[in-house]
Structures are given as C-alpha cells and as structure tokens.
C-alpha cells in the first residue's frame, strides 16, 4: 500500500477557540476527494474526540492523516504527556477527568475514547508519562 495523501496538524493545549478546526479540515479534505460519506462521518466523530482530548487532557500534540491507495485512512494523535494513568478507566463510558472549565463547555462526558473506539475499524492506544499515541484506522466503504 502506498500513501496518496499525507497531512499534518498541530493542536495547542487549552486552545478552546480552535477546537474542531483540525477535524473540520480532515472532513473537508475527505469530502473534496469524494470519500464515502458514512465512513467520513465516523472519521469526523473520531478525529473531533481525539483532537479535543489532546486539547483538554494533554499538553497539545501532533496529528497526522494518511490516506492509502486502497482508501484506508489512518490517523495518528501523538502528544508529549502527561499520559493516561489508567487506560482501562479512560476507556470506560462515563469516566472522565476533565476540568470544571472543560465540563462547563459541555466536554468531559466521559464518552470520548469509547466513541473513538466504537467508530474506528482499528484502534490502538499506548500511553506513559512521556506521552500518549493513539492510532486509528478506517477501511474504505466496500
């Protein structure tokens, strides 16, 4: 498989004013190449949740998107910490460590990672104090 399109983005910590900008660009990019709308909507949900997680919980981070020649889309969200102390809890629906500030804006439902896991075709998360890397993939519509 070869990469046909590669994009990189940066997310800043607590940059609530820009929340969703990366996800919007990802969706627009997929839309512009005629990507299947149903898969695109799943990607939009996952990218938004991941982008928000990076902004709320991490010290910002980097996002890459690779679209392969078979239509597979892989998104990688890599942040420099502080890491997720208990991954099992973080993947439990309803469990959240979001700040009061984030909750006041409607974040912190504890549905971020569960939503991402549910809509992705492949999901991998590695976390330590040095940072978290989330890799998710979506197969093209058959």
């Amino acid at each position: 498989m070869a990469v046909v399109l590669h994009k990189e983005y940066k997310v800043l910590r607590d940059d609530y004013g820009s929340a969703g900008k990366v996800s919007s660009d990802i969706k627009q990019t997929l839309n512009s190449i005629g990507f299947d709308p149903k898969v695109m909507r799943r990607i939009a949900v996952a990218s938004y949740e991941s982008e928000i997680n990076m902004l709320i919980h991490a010290f910002g981070g980097d996002i890459t998107m690779d679209i392969m020649d078979d239509g597979t889309v892989t998104l990688v969200f890599k942040d420099p910490g502080p890491g997720i102390p208990d991954l099992e809890k973080a993947l439990t629906p309803g469990w959240s460590t979001a700040s009061e500030k984030a909750r006041a804006m409607g974040f912190g439902a504890g549905m971020g990672l569960p939503n991402i896991q549910r809509v992705s075709d492949a999901f991998d998360i590695q976390s330590s104090e040095a940072g978290t890397t989330l890799t998710i993939s979506f197969r093209a519509a058959q």
């Binding site: 996800s23 909507r41 409607g106 912190g108 939503n115």
Partner: protein
Amino acid sequence: MTINELIEKTGWKLATTQLDTSIEVSGAYCGDLLSWVMGNGEPGQAWITVQVHPNVIAVALLREFSCVIVADGANVTDEMVQKSTDEQLVMLESGIPAYETAKVLAALGI
C-alpha cells in the same frame, strides 16, 4: 419540514438571519454533553441545546445537523451568531425549555 416552515409554525427566533432556511429538518437530538451529541446525533437533525459556546458550531457542522435550536433563553452572543453565519450553520432560539422545545417538534411531526 424545512427550517423556514418550522419558524413559521413556531415563531421561534432565527438568530442567523442571513442564512438559507430551506434546509430540511429530518428529526431532532437533545443534549448538552458534546460527546454524547457527537456519538448519537444523526445528519439532518435539529440539535436542541442550552450550550452556547462556539464549540457547538464545530460539533453541529461535523455531525451535519440541519440547525441548532438554543433552548431556555440561553444567551446567544453576537460572536456566536457571527461565527455561525460564517460557517453557514442555522441557529434558532426557541425561548422555552429544552423539553418544551422537543414537545413542539414532536407535535409538528419532526
């Protein structure tokens, strides 16, 4: 039912006065927790919420809602209206609680 027909029948305020209201409303979703809305909303629905933070606009666009209906008199700021207009997202204000707003939509067959 289109947003325009909805406004005619309810008298709800159109905050984004410059936008096209001929868009079809296919249903509704009610919620204020953004991840619940992202995870459970469907394209074409009207989203009833009391959240008026600009992130509402990002979620509504990504979820492809037909419009946002701000309930309960939550304060829709000029900044919100401008951003929503810039992003082509129709925003209404029902002026009544979310439950009452949903009841009206249900009574209209939405």
